[in-house]
Subunit: 418 residues, 2 copies
């Protein structure tokens, strides 16, 4: 039954308020909640050995020392009247926004100013919330496989019809597959209002070349589409030819918003800090043709519905840009990249086709059977948690995502089990 | 011109995506941004003495020692592999939710379980986001004067028409005034889907008696209305007859959601932690009459669009419930309450009518002139920042809000200037 996971039987017979029925279109619980549920269920059966988690993309290594020290200092400041901080500046502290603009953008030749940066508590929140700035009738394009947040938040907002065979009516799906290396080309003849792109990709680990991104920017300028560019895994890029930011492409400043996060860059999944870049030159329009800058709308959205990131957390994030912080985060990511390489090498040696694992912490493996079957087999026979590719869309069916977020020893043990 | 603060002139002639035009109905920037702008402008003119800020309700005293110590310990944990934490449990850590359920609810006889609590980074975020769970056609009732977030987030969501004379078409305004002590009665004959209530009230400082809240709950049960109860200032209640939670009222568990925050309770405005209580028994309905529990919808909303609160911050919040934490937060609030009493005494001695300042950090003063005039006069002649009552709605016109969030010395100096 449609919406069965949300409907209930009330214990009273009171009149009731009207819910947002778009939620009832959602096909199941959030992917990672479902993975967690199956793992909990199996754990309750007392598995024969320790379960190794290579599923959800959660980091395992401690925060870099520079971040810990900066955060500890800031906590002490919060305990003294003279250095205590209440509400911070609405877009985030200047010390953090300026470090970001300088190191992540201007150092790469990208023309991004500190006041175009909005500090937040997560790229998931920002990629989920940004759609609010667009019309309820806006047409949305998403990759497939896709990070579920892009789809689900648009379903909740009522921009889709019902789902059938794992796809929602009204969404434009951009198919990724072995043929295009999981980097879909811009859809000729289509003019969606928004397209979500994610490189290095979650879940496939694929990266886009400069030429591929340039084709997207050119198409977006011609078709009147805003690119929501998720670069949460940017720090894993080691190939000097692969762009780190969409703003490395000429013309992107007019049509692209970029999402970044400290979660994977510096192990902040439990610390919580991210940022979104909204260039002042990104313009959308009303039905009557009036031009509206997204920068002002996002500022209004954030000042109305958000209240900033914890001051000690912003200090910890700023420490990522110090000399020590840069060295420590690079070493952290080198460790995860070595894991990814080991996973890919093992899977390839077993004859599986793989994407990712080089400029990405994810290895995307063709399983040779339905994704959830492969997930259950790996869980119950090898005691390894992965993420079923089918959870990322129809094009993910038959694939499994391995995450490199673990210690080298644990990854080695997991690979030995295969 | 409608939306003039958001429209712009593009530097290009590209086609453009469709924006959410509801944002253009918003009358001006967020109230506190406008206050900050006027203060910045005046500061640039080099005022003759230090500006004293009794405007925005931002705390000034350091975090309680128990919170600082707990947070510092947690930061150290984040620096060691064995104690490092990545993504936390989706509704918040059990150590915090259990402390909340026990101390804030069960100790007062309220039947609230730990799994009905959702830890978040702010009550502003939660009160702003909760409307997403309801139909786009849901009818909304708000108090006037009102915390602007309740109104603006519904405007953004398209549940109103345009504004005229400071009110949006389609909203039901519940008028507060000297006659009802700024505690409006339930609207007879009306059946909104949602009503926002806030006690102790921001901005008026008014509190609701047990009988008044019971009348609201009775009416909500009969009219099929969900009460969104904002209790962010609960910790300021000292009168034993005033309820701290809506769940002290029989029957509230079926119709009320409650928002709480550590911002004002323990000085967390820059540290960021809050929580929302969604009892499993609060049920809404689809157009076809199917029943839907809001608990499941909010869980889905939060797991899709939010990623939890920083672990060290959750540890700091849990420390509020330790013996030392309780003593320290009580002392902190006693200090602010003494300020509030002093402000109210001074204003009353000058002949001004006031509400609040006893079980609330806010003193709401009848100014005898338009609010923004009184704001500008106080800023430019007394160098005191207040908040203009008109920013909270039509019924706030002619009033000024004084905040008690400052040191006793600073408040004494401000009062001496009057």
């Amino acid at each position: 039954m449609r919406g069965e996971i949300y409907t209930t039987t009330p214990k009273h017979s009171l009149p009731m308020a009207l819910v947002n029925e778009n939620y009832l279109k959602l096909q199941s619980s959030y992917l990672f909640s479902e993975v967690a549920r199956r793992v909990r269920e199996y754990e309750a059966e007392k598995p024969p050995r320790k379960i190794i988690r290579l599923g959800i993309g959660d980091v395992t290594e401690p925060l870099p020392r520079a971040c810990v020290d900066a955060m500890a200092d800031a906590v002490r400041e919060m305990g003294c009247r003279d250095t205590f901080r209440g509400y911070g500046p609405e877009q985030g502290y200047a010390f953090l926004r300026e470090a970001i603009a300088e190191n992540d953008f201007r150092a790469r030749g990208c023309d991004i100013a500190a006041d175009e940066i909005f500090v937040s508590d997560g790229a998931k929140c920002d990629t989920g919330n940004f759609q609010e700035l667009f019309s309820a009738e806006a047409r949305i394009a998403v990759p497939d496989p896709v990070y579920p947040v892009y789809v689900d938040t648009n379903v909740m907002a009522g921009r889709t019809g019902d789902a059938a065979d794992g796809r929602y009516a009204g969404l434009l799906y951009l198919e990724g597959n072995a043929g295009n290396g999981f980097v879909p080309a811009p859809p000729a003849g289509e003019r969606p209002d928004i397209v979500y792109l994610c490189f290095p990709n979650n879940p496939t680990g694929a990266t886009a070349t400069r030429e591929q991104l340039a084709a997207w920017v050119k198409w977006a300028r011609e078709s009147g589409t805003i690119i929501l560019f998720d670069a949460a895994y940017e720090a894993f890029i080691r190939d000097p030819a692969v762009p780190h930011s969409i703003y490395e492409i000429d013309g992107a400043r007019d049509v692209a918003v970029e999402f970044r996060s400290f979660s994977k860059t510096a192990g902040f999944t439990g610390t919580r800090c991210a940022f979104t870049v909204v260039p002042k030159s990104v313009i959308a329009r009303t039905r009557d043709g009036a031009a509206v800058a997204l920068h002002g709308l996002w500022n209004r959205r954030q000042t109305t519905k958000f209240n900033g990131v914890s001051y000690p957390v912003q200090r910890a994030a700023a420490a990522v840009y110090t000399k020590a912080g840069r060295e420590q985060t690079r070493a952290l990511i080198d460790g995860y990249l070595a894991n990814a390489k080991a996973i890919r090498a093992k899977l390839t040696s077993l004859g599986y086709e793989c994407t990712g694992g080089d400029n990405s912490p994810y290895v995307w493996m063709k399983a040779g059977e339905p994704s959830w079957d492969a997930f259950d087999t790996l869980l119950r026979e090898k005691q390894i948690v992965t993420t079923p590719g089918a959870g990322f869309g129809r094009c993910g069916e038959g694939y499994i995502r391995f995450s490199a977020f673990n210690s080298p020893e644990t990854v080695a043990e997991a690979m030995a089990r295969l």
